[in-house]
Symmetry: C2
Subunit: 422 residues, 2 copies
Amino acid sequence: MLKPSVLLLAGFAFLPAAAAAANVAKVVQHAAYKTSVATLDREHDRIVQDIVTLTEIPAPPFEEKARAAAYLDMLRAAGLADVEMDEEGNVMGLWRGSAPAGGPVVAIAAHLDTVFPAGTPIKVKREGNRLSAPGIGDDTRSLAVLLGYVRAMRAAGVRTGRDILFVGNVGEEGPGDLRGVRYLFGKGRYKDRIKTFLSMDGTDGKRIVNAGVGSRRYRVTFKGPGGHSYGTFGLVNPMTAMSQTVVDLYKIDPPKSPKTTYAASVTGGGTSVNSIPDQAFMEFDMRSVSAEALATLEKSFLGIVAAAVAGENKARSTREGPVVADPKLIGDRPAGGTAESSDLVKIARQAVAAHGLTPELTASSTDSNLPMSLGIPAITIGSGGSGGRAHSLDEWIDVEKGASLKGMLPGLTMLLALADLR
Amino acid sequence: MLKPSVLLLAGFAFLPAAAAAANVAKVVQHAAYKTSVATLDREHDRIVQDIVTLTEIPAPPFEEKARAAAYLDMLRAAGLADVEMDEEGNVMGLWRGSAPAGGPVVAIAAHLDTVFPAGTPIKVKREGNRLSAPGIGDDTRSLAVLLGYVRAMRAAGVRTGRDILFVGNVGEEGPGDLRGVRYLFGKGRYKDRIKTFLSMDGTDGKRIVNAGVGSRRYRVTFKGPGGHSYGTFGLVNPMTAMSQTVVDLYKIDPPKSPKTTYAASVTGGGTSVNSIPDQAFMEFDMRSVSAEALATLEKSFLGIVAAAVAGENKARSTREGPVVADPKLIGDRPAGGTAESSDLVKIARQAVAAHGLTPELTASSTDSNLPMSLGIPAITIGSGGSGGRAHSLDEWIDVEKGASLKGMLPGLTMLLALADLR
């Protein structure tokens, strides 16, 4: 039989703000919490060392294996149960609560992958409290902070009602297309047990991402017969159909609320200046915080592609063959959100405020998109401290102890509140 | 004092077809011509060997130096005077006629460069009479045939009234943009003396190119501030201005006569699917046999670029900066033609017909474009034999002796007719 507080978490719909505050207040006044914080404080240098160690293991999209293996060992060393790598490459370990085995789980995840291709120099450069290296803040610091939480909770003898699943997941960045969390919620062994999801991504401790910007991304390849620019002038040109697509897409005035956007972003094609090209491609990004608005935009877009191709085939000769377009979906992040009125957001705000920070609700595209799209309460939070230049070679974080610790505590606080600290 | 026949050549405007025929008939009946032909016949294998030797010396655009140096030595060995390499890299030697030094010159040129980049395998593969290698027919065979002419004329004791300049020129292919002949007629030491120009390019012995298709080629780079596709949606996008340019260009219905064409051919740009690009480029090719029609088209095109940029800056936000376009001229081949009624074309037709072939007048874009644009009579002729797949890795020629010799003779005949065979 599930305990009442477990039932409350699973539904979690009608917790008044006062109750959330009480929940959070209970955590921050708890002796085991205070001991955990003292451990985090004492272990600061070890967390920094873990950040460096993990950052220097390359983890390009689809090549997270080496870092995943190292993180698996670290999760095991931290004392978690059931440590494993799933078929997609995610690694995880379970913090057992006192509830009967197999009940609801609070999951907290940081992503293993970086945007940087194999061969990118990733040696960490340290200048005082400033550490620079590709991927160090997005999202390697979070991986180390989760380990810090586990060790601190163990050292303090923390007891929770619910199980907590600590995850290092693959596939958050662009081409990974959320494959890690997609597996976690679609096929993984905890797929029906995760009732609350926290993604720790980026550093800002006061930021709470509760709106998931969905995206649909296409690479459209336009093909035609090609030919000599002078000798076969008058034949259809795939470049023209492609250009018409861009022009017509940019005539769309998308809703400002729910915010919906598009972009013609990357292009290439053609062989020589004196040839009608036989093919060219364009990549398109479409986003919205509303799944419905995104679907409407996508439908318009695909109609525009078809009309542009038809128009070109009508405007010029198809005697050597027509222009055709092949729109290939290369990115699919579902839109979704976790309501401000939800218990999860209430607790998160209280946990941030409890540490003297002003919570900021925001929209972004993160691993939380996936559970949000499934109706599972999910938010994305920060790992603490500060940082910048994510996705660039001069990415950096600041690991000054005071700010780092302060920024780490909202996450620990909400995690323990959600997991029913005993 | 110039001899009457020299004056005739310099003006060369009112030679009736009958006179051209008589001129050509005089050549083909001349004993020295017949001896020259016998020498070409006897030296067939040597010409083939020269083709192989020269083909196997790489000559990418702007890297013709090694082949030019080898050809320089061969021109000298063939017995020409004043053998030299000019500052542009063209190599040449003078066949002295009996007229006083410094008078009008008939120039015959083959181009040294191929379209193939450094590192392309260029070993000649021989199967019977079929020789395959990149550049072998376009235009290496012509280089060897010119050497054959010189040796045969020397062996036969040919005497001409006028000087003949034998040239191996650089820069005929695409990026070279006619830099070799541009120098020859603009700065070279013979620039004011060349009154008739023959380009030997390609193999077909019956083809006479007397219309030069002019081209103006642009690479237009469109730049803007760029930004995050979602976070900064609404900013101007250079991709849109570029696409509008293509769409509007393709609304132009250019004249069919004089034939005028355009193409949007090569494109690239953008950094990632989720970014508004900060730049993209498109290459455009415009051509016409009429310099005036080409200029009209070019003016329209540049107007379209400017309007597309202005339209984009009006349609979206320029708060982070506007879209700008930088149209860079990357190709400029002047249009021109040598009239069918000109003495040069009359003599060329007679010379082709004298060897049992049916002359074919055609339009193309070759080194002759440049002198044509200056009003200097110029045509492009073939080196003989057959060939195919020019500009491809499996380019080939056939060197069967009968067809090769037959195809070589129109060139020699018209050359000697133009140079006033004595």
